[in-house]
């Protein structure tokens, strides 16, 4: 039940052709050191789910610059012109999802549901290829769940059971991503003893979490 691991144990998990999901928003609250490890692993042909593409030299921007990422599902990529370039040149595939829809699609995957009906994007390009469903005379888009082989999460505090607490606006997509990975890896700013977190302050119950790392080299 002790989920604390070292860097080398995590490094083994990255491989070619996998789907990674990543918390964080506009270079804030990202599991930056875990992303460094993905770069270091050299894993190729990655599909990535993340709110945004980060800056080119930060967070998942680094996986685009290193050309390890072949596909990105995100809501906003404006801070990363290299991503735009890669898409225009056909080196990368980009699926845009409105931010609130992206959040619900990740949550939907994490909660084991088959989809959610959302109005956002009706009458826009977001409709393309999606089933429209009528409920009580109103149209909705059927938005499908997102899950990933590995979810990368940044937390402020974690215990060895994987219970997590986030701080301020670093929370963003992290608690959602933490539900939707087959393997959920946490980069914690601080490891606290089991019992140090009050049951009411825990944002992500440990039951969702696979591995916790203290962010130190070994």
């Amino acid at each position: 039940m002790n989920k604390l691991v070292s860097k080398s144990e995590i490094m083994k998990l990255f491989h070619d052709n996998m789907t990674l999901m990543c918390g964080g928003f506009a270079n804030r609250g990202n599991p930056g050191k875990l992303i460094d490890m993905v770069v270091e692993s050299g894993a190729q042909n990655l599909s990535i789910i993340s709110n945004d593409a980060g800056d080119p030299d930060l967070t998942i921007g680094r996986l685009i610059r290193s050309r390890q990422a072949k596909k990105l599902i995100a809501s906003h990529v404006g801070m990363n012109p290299e991503l735009g370039q890669a898409v225009l040149e056909g080196r990368m595939e980009l699926e845009l999802s409105p931010q609130g829809t992206l959040a619900e699609r990740i949550r939907c995957g994490g909660t084991g549901m088959g989809g959610v009906l959302i109005k956002t994007g009706l009458g826009t390009v977001i409709e393309e290829g999606k089933q429209k469903i009528e409920v009580n005379g109103q149209s909705y888009l059927l938005e499908l769940p997102l899950t990933a082989e590995i979810a990368l999460v940044k937390a402020h505090k974690a215990d060895a059971l994987g219970n997590l607490v986030y701080k301020g606006t670093q929370r963003n997509f992290n608690p959602l991503v933490a539900m939707a990975g087959k393997t959920v890896i946490v980069e914690a700013e601080e490891i606290v003893p089991i019992g140090a977190l009050d049951m009411d302050e825990i944002h992500t119950p440990g039951v969702f979490v696979s591995l916790v790392w203290n962010g130190e080299e070994e």
């Binding site: 928003f25 506009a26 270079n27 804030r28 709110n51 945004d52 995100a74 809501s75 906003h76 990529v77 404006g78 801070m79 991503l83 735009g84 898409v87 225009l88 980009l94 845009l96 409105p98 931010q99 609130g100 829809t101 992206l102 959040a103 619900e104 990740i106 949550r107 959302i118 109005k119 956002t120 994007g121 009706l122 009458g123 826009t124 390009v125 977001i126 402020h156 986030y166 701080k167 301020g168 606006t169 670093q170 929370r171 963003n172 997509f173 992290n174 608690p175 959602l176 944002h203």
Partner: protein, 211 residues
Amino acid sequence: MTDIKEKIARKVAGFFKPGDVVNLGIGIPTMVGNYIEDGVWLHTENGLVGYGPAPEPGAESEYLTGAGAQFLTAYPGAAAFDSATSFAIVRGGHLTATVLGALEVDEKGNLANWSRPGVIVGMGGAMDLVNGAKDVIIAMEHTARGGKHKILESCSLPLTGVGVVTKIVTELCVIQVTGEGLVLQELSEGVTLDEVLEKTGARLIVSETLR
């Protein structure tokens, strides 16, 4: 130029009263935050209600940032939450208004503000905001560079939302979007009706109070 933007931002800020919950987009909309009354609460889609102005130099916290990664402060009573809750606030109808910029707005209240040819940016939270907020206020300069019309009969760029805009505020005027079309409600000081008509690419209904 800054004058123009400030003027627009001040005008929009005046629409809000204490207790309102408002989300501000980037650009001129962000400046609205400088002029709102105390007690108007600001929502940022990355997960906070109750933020205040930028912190003093040296007091920045990576735990208190906005959707553009900028540093914020927080008022007592501010609440943090995850992105799903953030858009539950938006989609669930708890935003009094969102203030956004625009590339194009048209007679039907359609909005295009996320995509222009050859640039890949993404819609971020804009599509959610325009569908969820009770009021969708466009705060922008009346025309684009070179005097190109931004208020049009029909948007040509990819849409952000269909029939979503409720109000347009520019340096020249205030336009209300109604079922009948765009109603010119207010002219800024020193601005003539003719100037507005010339700089607008859509049919304008002139409000009775202006005739």
